[in-house]
């Protein structure tokens, strides 16, 4: 299921204006994400809207870029995602693939993108492998990764006394990566991992696993999963009296869409790490209001990441006058950005984007003043501390020479 969407009147302008036609450069972006499954609300159509906003705000048309946006549903399946990515590069002339939540799919797309010299602007996936073991010179990993989440939430919870961890882990690349990263942070902070359970993805019933956690002697249950799985696990933990019995929950990856679905009554007091929250400053509020007008909900950090990544990408395309993957990504790495949504930051030589992360706490129903007034900021984790240091094999500035 592939949809086409011409941006503004750029296409028409390109044909109609004779002088324009020669200068206009075609850029095709493909938003590949989950449009129907458990991650559809945190990525899905919202990411397409975010990309479209970036193209409009960048003023692509005036700058002679004729941008077209495609979108497709990868159904969280690596084989489906790979097929679409190949088709996009081979037949649809796609220059960059955006978003791609679900790490297993993202890793497959990163590989295909490198083979085709495209650009992979990842916002939705969490695996650190994207810029480590399976790094590519054409990958830019924008929004977050499991190491940054682990650093924020893992460290804060352990230091607050939650030192005996039980991991409830989604059994695929992302969950494993998140568990591994968090375990390291917990141990560094003086805590201990008591036990681990890996649940099938997606799952609906977590009561069995929660009961095992209760019997393990742990005082923290680390939820190394995402989306509907996290929501169900938190709901059931409260139903089975887990939280009342003195065991706290650490949701290692939670998006504002999940907190919104749970409601402040159930989610209050949860600590979580995010790269973006709509109510941080005037710029984030202004952008989020425009986004909400089109989407009907506030943006998640994944949506924000798609916007900012597209913006930075288009700047590089304009500067180089090229859509060749390695060239554009090299340009993206050379220029630092001061982004309305992510603040100051840069793309490191391995493709990891370095920006600040934030530790938030979910407000209580009394403190929350509106449907989306959900977070209280607890700490800022500076970009240099939040993300893992670069490994030499992925330092593409060296290899390029």
């Amino acid at each position: 299921m592939i949809r086409r969407l011409a941006i503004g009147t750029a296409a028409i302008a390109a044909i109609a204006g004779p002088g324009f036609a020669q200068d206009a450069m075609d850029v095709t972006l493909g938003v590949l994400n989950d449009r129907s499954g458990t991650y559809a609300d945190l990525s899905g159509e919202g990411s397409v809207i975010a990309a479209r906003m970036a193209v409009e705000d960048f003023g692509a048309e005036e700058k002679g870029l004729n941008v077209e946006i495609l979108s497709a549903d990868h159904q969280n399946k690596p084989d489906v995602g790979s097929n679409i990515a190949r088709q996009w590069y081979d037949q649809e002339g796609v220059d960059a693939i955006l978003d791609v939540p679900t790490s297993s799919v993202a890793l497959a797309v990163a590989d295909i993108t490198a083979q085709n010299n495209g650009v992979f602007l990842n916002s939705g996936a969490g695996s650190t492998e994207l810029t480590r073991g399976q790094c590519q010179p054409t990958t830019v990993h924008w929004t977050y990764d499991t190491a940054a989440l682990a650093k924020g939430t893992g460290q804060a919870v352990t230091q607050a006394g939650g030192d005996q961890w039980f991991f409830l882990t989604a059994d695929y690349a992302f969950g494993h990566s998140l568990e591994e990263n968090t375990a390291r942070v917990v141990e560094e902070a003086g805590g201990e991992v008591v036990s681990t359970v890996r649940h099938p993805f997606p799952a609906t019933d977590f009561s069995s696993f929660l009961l095992q956690a209760q019997g393990s002697g742990a005082n923290v249950i680390g939820l190394a999963n995402a989306g509907g799985d996290t929501v169900n696990a938190i709901k059931q933990a409260s139903e089975f009296g887990i939280t009342q019995s003195g065991i706290s929950l650490a949701a290692l990856l939670m998006f504002i869409s999940d907190v919104h679905a749970l409601g402040t009554e159930t989610a209050q007091g949860l600590q979580l790490t995010e790269a973006f929250y709509w109510d941080q400053n005037d710029e984030t509020r202004e952008w989020s209001a425009r986004f909400e007008e089109q989407h009907g909900a506030k943006p998640t950090m994944v949506h924000a990441g798609v916007y900012s990544a597209t913006m930075h990408y288009l700047r590089a395309v304009e500067a180089t006058g090229s859509t060749e993957g390695e060239e554009v990504v090299a340009q993206m790495k050379q220029t630092e950005f001061d982004d309305p949504l992510f603040g100051e930051g840069h793309v490191r030589a391995d493709g990891r984007v370095i920006h600040d992360m934030y530790l938030f706490e979910v407000k209580s129903p009394d403190a929350s003043e509106g449907e989306w007034d959900l977070y209280e900021q607890r700490a800022v984790i500076p970009g240099e501390e939040a993300f893992l240091p670069m490994i030499d094999e992925c330092d593409f500035s060296q290899q390029a020479g």
Binding site: S36, D41, R198, P200, T204, S208, V231, K235, S257, L262
Partner: protein
């Protein structure tokens, strides 16, 4: 105090109980499927979507009309059943003379349409639905904390399952039904309105799915995909129990819940697959299912 494979008995008891709770959902859902298949010969692939409808109707009754859980428990199955009745009258009834495959394709298509529509309107994150006040809280059983609501789910499902079995196997109405499936022409000749009997049976089977949906609403997130995840498992349960066998579907439902619960303790990674492994084994050894009559 003995330990089984390193699992203390208290933990084991808790896990068995949880398995029974999940089994309750499997039992009610597979019962509906078995009734529909056994008496109508329709493989009802929209059963998962109808289960989801049950949960959503409960949520809508609360959100738009202010009617709480107990009302929903009565009204939602009737409303969902009525949509089933309409589907049977408009579409399914035209397919009885054709191969099973046509009914399967039709109901599968209907399921995709219903799920797509709900996804479009309500998104995927799910709607909150609270546990009714009378069933909030729970009991400390010593080996585990049992939420009252989960206990209620087991009781409600046992009552509904065995009530249905009794009605079909032991009453006059059930006898008519079984006779009508066996030889519709002859039963019609005795002055019984066979098409109406069949339509009401489908409505009843669909109503069971709606009932399970209401039971699920307070504990699982009410979202458009909730049935799609479950339906495949429930089909496996029906196949293991024996297509069309009422008692087989009920007992297998609870049994599979228990097996799945135990797998979650010993090898959590395998808990999604274990049902299908059992299904494969049963099909190899006893293709008609554990409780199926040989054709």
């Amino acid at each position: 105090m003995f330990e089984l494979l390193g699992i203390p008995p208290q933990v084991m008891m808790g896990q068995l109980l949880l398995g029974l709770i999940n089994g309750s959902f499997y039992a009610v859902l597979s019962l509906g499927l078995a009734v529909i298949f056994g008496l109508l010969n329709i493989i009802n692939f929209s059963h998962g979507a109808q289960y989801m409808l049950g949960a959503f109707v409960a949520w809508m009754l609360l959100t738009y009309l202010g009617l709480g859980y107990w009302w929903a428990l009565v009204l939602a199955p009737v409303i969902v059943g009525a949509t089933g009745l309409a589907l049977e009258r408009v579409a399914l009834s035209r397919l009885y003379h054709l191969d099973h495959l046509y009914g399967l394709l039709l109901t599968f298509g209907v399921a995709l349409i219903i799920q797509g529509l709900f996804r479009n309107y309500y998104g995927i994150s799910g709607q909150p639905y609270q546990i009714p006040g009378a069933l909030a809280g729970g009991q400390n059983l010593g080996f585990m904390f049992l939420p009252n609501y989960r206990a209620w789910v087991v009781v409600a499902s046992v009552v509904v399952c065995f009530g249905t079995w009794f009605m079909i196997e032991k009453t006059r109405l059930g006898a008519y039904l079984r006779a009508a499936t066996e030889n519709p022409v002859l039963v019609g000749a005795f002055g019984i309105n066979v098409p109406r009997l069949i339509a009401l049976t489908y409505m009843f089977g669909v109503g069971l799915a709606g009932f399970a949906g209401v039971l699920a609403a307070p504990i699982y997130s009410v979202n458009p995909n909730m049935g799609a995840d479950l339906i495949i498992v429930v089909f496996a349960v029906v196949v293991i129990g024996g297509m069309g066998s009422i008692m087989g579907a009920i007992l297998t439902g609870y049994g599979i819940g228990l097996v799945e619960g135990l797998t979650r303790v010993f090898y959590p990674e395998g808990s999604a697959v274990v049902i299908f492994v059992i299904m494969a084994i049963v099909l190899m050894i006893k293709p008609e299912g554990l409780f199926g009559r040989t054709a």
